[in-house]
């Protein structure tokens, strides 16, 4: 067993050189309130995504606490059904659409991906900024609605006919379906930015088979987003049309079909689970590699597994609909498909075990959270196997067993890796280390609280407690289990408070981190912490999968990019050979203005279909403003060297 010293980039940026100063001036993001809205740099937007999503995690958490408080005793009069239905719908919608995806996919992706690629900025930074504002718009619509008693009360899945015009008067369900449009357009925008960044902005030499697993997963997720999110947009769009202009897509009397909605929704809904889980797995793969101090075992199987998950994720949606009564053949098919998803997931687990087994494990704070993930997600995954079996599903579907299952999967698959990731990249984002003691407290409080709450829910499900009930009869004997489950909330809340304290404290007075405090291999550690606005003084080149570990000290860097304009390098999709130079469009207010006009049109269309024709011209104007060419960029001529056909 050969042991080598880690190679940590050391000759790069000190921030002192003339080049650094020029680049800093060229890539400077405007400041002030106006400038804040003009900012298009991916680290800023990424952080905004993460902070905003975290706020919604807290808000969603408060709702969760309200739910647990309500259920702590039978026939509780704390909340009536009207409020409770809004609360649990808001909880689900907030956690899925305003927290999980924006945090795990958009937040981490936007922040990390360009750094890992070795790019100066994300591709299409304005689209990226626009996506952020649209996400915020959707979040404000949803929460604005909730605070004005217009919170959706039809479940985060909003099944018709309950969410249809006949059974959901007012605009509560409209708010939900328009929030979907907002957040999905946002996710789609980011998916395009990330996929393009990964395919076109990788450092020279980072061929596809040298891409970090995290980039692979982001690529797969971007594709999953591109193919899955349209389904929910169609579902919620048709729902909105049914509600607003009286179409009959879901009206069984006039030839519509209520199951069509479920098919559309779950065609999105299940890939969505992987959209949330895969980033977590990617973080774990990254961390396992770093803290085992060795290259990850089974790079290829993991990549294959990730891609396979992306595909299989699209063929299992019907297992959410077993209880509607299906032909046996299709039940068996979807059971098989749902079981099959275990294979790629299992592959990743096996590879992690082997990596640790054959490595030198440093059980530092982020790794602790990875173990938390492994424990929790295993339980969730395995109970998922039970749900894939039709007969068992028919019993536990729509009970607290399922609630337990998917909280194990989603909290296990997203929240634990999220904390792992935050602790891991905290030094990169802030320049300071997070306090490990507080982090450990945070872990154990949260871990215990989580299991207390959600493990108990399995039993409640088996005892027949259905989901989405605002109360239950004392005669059902669900009381004490609910008390037990609710008690976990105290621990989780305490854990989160510790985390917040840790972040606030460590950000100010934490230990200075330096460029690469964990000794990780990724390119994101090859610059100062936090990264300068141009990310890399010189765009690096790469000769292996783990650049900072493997690359020789004389690994070439890219030169020849201009520093007076925001020039970026475009490489080939497969081999990452330099191909041509592109120009980053730079900061702009237009994405924000466009987001405003689009939001106005979206919100208006909740109230009247006329919002579409009236709202369209401002949108068009702002889009033209956004895309109108300005400035004097160099004008290459055909036939010249700066022209490629």
């Amino acid at each position: 067993m050969a042991v080598a010293e880690p190679i940590i980039a050391n000759d790069q940026d000190t921030g002192e050189s003339e080049l650094a100063r020029r680049l800093a001036r060229t890539w400077r993001q405007p400041t002030g309130i106006w400038g804040w809205f003009c900012n298009t740099h991916h680290t800023d937007i990424g952080l905004r995504f993460m902070v905003t999503a975290f706020i919604f995690l807290l808000l969603g958490g408060i709702l969760a606490a309200m739910i647990r408080l309500q259920l702590i005793r039978p026939e509780s009069s704390l909340m009536g059904p009207d409020l409770y239905n809004q609360v649990f719908t808001m909880h689900g919608s907030t956690m899925i659409f305003l927290f999980a995806v924006p945090m795990m996919f958009q937040g981490f992706g936007v922040y990390i991906v360009p750094l890992m690629c070795g790019a100066r900025n994300i591709a299409f930074p304005r689209l990226n900024a626009f996506s952020y504002y649209l996400y915020v718009g959707g979040a404000l619509v949803l929460w604005g609605g909730f605070l004005t008693n217009t919170g959706p009360d039809v479940g985060w899945f909003a099944y018709v006919p309950l969410s249809g015009p006949a059974y959901s008067p007012g605009h509560r369900a409209d708010i939900w379906s328009q929030m979907i449009t907002f957040t999905e357009v946002s996710a789609l925008g980011v998916a395009i930015c990330l996929a393009t960044t990964i395919l076109r902005h990788r450092a020279p030499g980072m061929t596809l088979n040298r891409m970090p697993i995290l980039l692979w997963e982001k690529l797969v997720i971007s594709m999953a987003v591109i193919f899955a999110m349209p389904a929910v947009m169609v579902a919620s769009g048709l729902l909105l049309l049914d509600r607003l202009v009286g179409t009959h897509f879901f009206n069984p009397a006039e030839g519509g079909d209520v199951l069509l909605y479920q098919h559309l929704f779950w065609f999105f809904g299940h890939p969505e689970v992987y959209i949330i889980f895969l980033p977590g797995a990617a973080i774990v793969s990254t961390l396992v590699e770093c803290f085992s101090r060795r290259r990850i075992f089974g790079y290829t199987p993991i990549v294959v597994a990730v891609v396979a998950t992306g595909f299989i994720g699209f063929s299992v949606w019907v297992h959410h609909m077993f209880a509607v009564g299906l032909p046996q053949l299709s039940e068996s098919f979807f059971t098989a498909a749902s079981l099959m998803i275990v294979i790629p997931t299992g592959t990743q687990f096996f590879c992690w075990v082997v990596t640790i087994w054959n490595g030198r494990l440093q059980l530092r704070l982020p790794m602790l959270w990875c173990f938390g993930f492994i424990f929790v997600f295993l339980i969730g995954g395995l109970s998922g196997v039970m749900l894939a079996s039709v007969p068992v599903d028919l019993q536990v579907h729509d009970t607290y067993f399922v609630v337990a299952h998917f909280h194990y999967v989603l909290i296990g698959g997203a929240l634990f890796p999220m904390f792992a990731g935050i602790y891991f990249w905290f030094p990169k984002m802030t320049g300071r280390m997070a306090d490990p003691t507080l982090g450990t407290w945070h872990f154990w409080l949260f871990f215990i609280g989580f299991n207390l709450t959600f493990f108990t829910l399995h039993f409640l499900g088996l005892r027949g407690m259905p989901r989405r009930v605002y109360t239950y009869s004392p005669d059902m004997h669900w009381h004490w289990l609910n008390v037990l489950a609710s008690s976990g909330v105290v621990f989780m809340t305490a854990g989160l408070l510790v985390f917040l304290a840790n972040v606030i404290w460590s950000r100010r007075v934490g230990e200075i981190a330096g460029n690469n405090p964990w000794g990780d291999a990724g390119l994101e550690w090859a610059m100062s912490s936090p990264p300068p606005p141009y990310n890399f003084l010189h765009i690096p080149t790469v000769s292996g999968r783990d650049p900072l570990w493997e690359d020789p000290p004389d690994q070439p860097v890219v030169v020849g990019l201009r520093d007076d304009i925001r020039e970026t390098l475009v490489t080939q999709s497969l081999d990452a050979d330099p191909q041509h130079k592109d120009e980053d469009p730079g900061p702009s207010i237009w994405p924000f203005l466009t987001a405003l006009t689009v939001s106005a049109a979206f919100v208006g269309s909740i109230f009247t279909p006329w919002a579409v024709p009236i709202g369209a011209p401002p949108v068009i104007v702002t889009l033209i403003g956004w895309l109108w060419p300005r400035g004097q960029s160099p004008t290459p001529r055909p036939g010249g060297e700066a022209w490629v056909r």
């Binding site: 299409f124 395009i192 349209p230 202009v245 030839g255 004389d554 990019l561």
Partner: protein, 207 residues
């Protein structure tokens, strides 16, 4: 350009200063994003197509209690769509050569086609023989054609904007590449338009 002469401490460098700064076709990043957009929209169309056929299985008659949409304007528009491929192809072919004149003329022709198609589309709406609020069939027909009309109008505006730019000196480099990408998108609009025509005019009559 001073920074390019800054001494580099690394002994080995990869000099990219000679690389071109405009790329056409699949090398262009916007082209890639455009492909992703088309994938998203194709997915939406595909899902609504699926919904159309799904709802058809739930009805004994199709169209239920309506005459199929009248053929005239749909057929005319199909022809307009097919013909409009020519200027789109012309723009796409001439843009990489930097032939601004050809691109401008092509864009002009394309916008005329797009305007014609949009105008005919307005007439098409009046001859669908149903209202969106009649039943599920009518709803899908309207949504299909409405969604496509959204694409059509978007594409019309985009082409017009490019046309305006093409009369300014800014029409060069990346803008030429954009004009070529615009043609790709027009192809997409044409293909989906023809598919929708087949669906609402064809399947209601012949299948």
């Amino acid at each position: 350009m001073g920074s390019l002469n800054e001494p580099i401490r690394r002994p080995l460098t990869l000099d990219v200063s000679g690389l071109p700064s405009v790329a056409f076709g699949h090398r262009n990043t916007t082209w890639l994003a455009n492909v992703f957009y088309m994938a998203i929209e194709a997915m939406m169309f595909a899902l609504i197509f699926a919904a159309y056929f799904y709802l058809r299985t739930r009805s004994t008659n199709w169209p239920p209690g309506h005459l199929p949409p009248s053929l005239t304007y749909g057929a005319v528009n199909a022809v307009v769509f097919l013909l409009s491929i020519v200027p789109a192809w012309w723009v796409r072919k001439r843009a990489p050569d930097g032939d601004r004149r050809a691109v401008r003329n092509g864009l002009l022709a394309l916008s005329l086609f797009a305007m014609a198609a949009t105008g005919i589309r307005v007439l098409e709406f009046t001859t669908l023989n149903c209202r969106w609020s009649d039943d599920a069939y009518s709803s899908t027909v309207w949504v299909l054609i409405g969604m496509h009309s959204g694409h059509l109008v978007t594409e019309l505006i985009e082409t017009l904007v490019l046309l305006v730019i093409s009369f300014t000196p800014k029409m060069e480099g990346t803008r030429l590449a954009d004009a070529a990408i615009n043609s790709d998108y027009w192809y997409f609009v044409v293909v989906t338009g023809l598919m929708i025509d087949f669906l609402i005019y064809g399947t209601t009559r012949f299948l």
